[in-house]
Amino acid sequence: MIEETDISKEGLLTAYKNIVMERLFDKKMLNASRQGFLPFYIPLMGHEAIHIGLGMAIRDEDFFYPYYRDFGVLLQMGIPIDTILSQVFATATDNEIGRDMPDHFSLKKYNIGAVITPVAGHLTSATGIAYAKKYRKQKGSVITTFGDGATSTPDFHVAMNFAGVYNLPMVFFVENNQFAISVPTYPSTDKAFSNTYEETRGAIYKKAEAYGFTGIRIDGTNFLEVYRATRQALESAENQPILIEAMTYRMGPHSTADDPNKYRTTTVIEGGDKDPLVVNQKMLKDMKILTDKDISSINAEMDETTSQLIDKYEKAPKPDKSTMMGNLYEDEPWYISEERGDIQ
């Protein structure tokens, strides 16, 4: 039981608000997607504590290379909500002018890498960024997030190995929600899984040893635990890389394109004991940071805010087709100029 903390009451309340906001955004965006306002969306339910803890832990001097399920981290980092939602709704004002999928942020000015769809495709880039930091003798570390499924990829191995060999300021952060899409992370006795192979036989956090550094496993449903472990890792990484495996459960579908009932019986449900929203509400109540009254007023406030924002972005203008040929090369080739004439 956490009794005291290194974060102000205000900070804890903000964190809680962001958890609530993330949850509400999630539900409403799934809805928007069902109604056709959003062609694609990546659900967040189950990842809120990880996201908010990460957002709290990352410092100005760190570089963050996220994956596609990290919307909430940006919220807590204080990235303007308009910046975030223009991307998710692929509007004309999006920093990427709607070129990439929802949740594929690219925000260089905030030290955030360009999210890439191919799973783990950013891990070697992240280590290269860490190398640059070390070469330039800059403070801070690079933290990169990815899923449990990603640990099966070539990129995971190669990035971990490079981090070990060059002793890079790297925090590898696994958001272990126990599933890739339908493939579970570990062997399971659950009947629903009995017909599937698992992603890996070794516990993920232990894989760090193969590369000569440390791995730890933490509770990914408790944002304070995530915050503390991550902040400490960001500090220690300046001396040696580290792997963090944060355990949680993907409460929703993988994306708006699949139906989890096909391959599992959901074991963590909304409002249940292990729902991060419930876990952290209870914790903050026990810490006397949050009252029942706060809970309902925050909920009302966030409900209002998120509805208004989604409404605004659903209606926001989309990028014009005249934008689509630009910025492939700095110096545009002749055939690109010619093809501008083909856009009709």
């Binding site: 999928m101 594929h104 799973v119 070539p154 890739a180 493939v183 492939l328 856009i343 009709q344």
Partner: protein, 321 residues
Amino acid sequence: MTQMTMVKALNSGLNNAMEKDDSIILLGEDVGTDGGVFRVTDGLLAKYGRERVVDTPLAELGIVGFGIGMSMAGLKAIPEIQFQDFIYTAMDQIINQMAKLRYRTNGDYTLPMVLRTPYGGGVHGGPYHSQSGEAYFTHTQGLTVVTPSNPYDAKGLLLSSIELNDPVIFLEPKRLYYAGKMDVPDDYYKVDLRKANVIREGDDLTIITYGPAVPLVKSTVEKNNVNAQIIDLRTLSPFDLETIMAGVKKTGKVLIVHEAPKMFGVGAELSATISERAIDYLAAPILRVTGLDIPIPFALEDYYVPNEKRIMAAIEKLLKY
């Protein structure tokens, strides 16, 4: 006969083949319990068990390499790559092992295997769920590259690919997965891999196309009453030279349509081959209408792919020439 979508036809083909031959193994991400993200392998796990319908870890390199090993050992692997866009971590296995094994060992090892993967646009998936990378494979000596344009061909070409004693890249146009149903035999049948399909006769020009672009070309020609011959290649490499040359010599005007980008793409080889052999028959330049030479932008995919307007502009240019 059953009315089937392309997905159903492929599923039926896999089922027929697996029933007949217990050396066939399907493998890939989410092909088992989930039945495939596009449902092509739906129901096969229940019927054939987890030894033959293998859910794999998230590693395309492994999916392909594992399949290669199975086929080296006398099984017949049918790996699935969830989206063609994700195939590139397996490129070394495809180019250096799969495509070259027969040649470099002078046939000591042969490699009957079919690597299936959905390609092209249609799901508004942005730069990484919409790619048309066929040119990477057609340029790789040793591979056979096949792509169907309708449910009947999909099943028949898949079964022929499975019977081939060489590695096949089987590209499934996801745009056409659920684009319509068609009468498809429930039983085993084959469609010749080495024969292009003249899907429409015509005298004024020859349009060469394949896969996802075929229905668009057909509807454009029909709607606008163009007197065009349409050739659906079916197999991109090695392509059916004879049918193409017969068409070119007959009409003297050629349009190539594909969804993949133009530069150094499949259309370039078709154009080069034709003009190399039949320049004196050509009454006009060979034109190409293709996807744009940029990554596929999420919000603007519809402007990226060829459309009726662009095809008609090219046809008119050719007819007037």
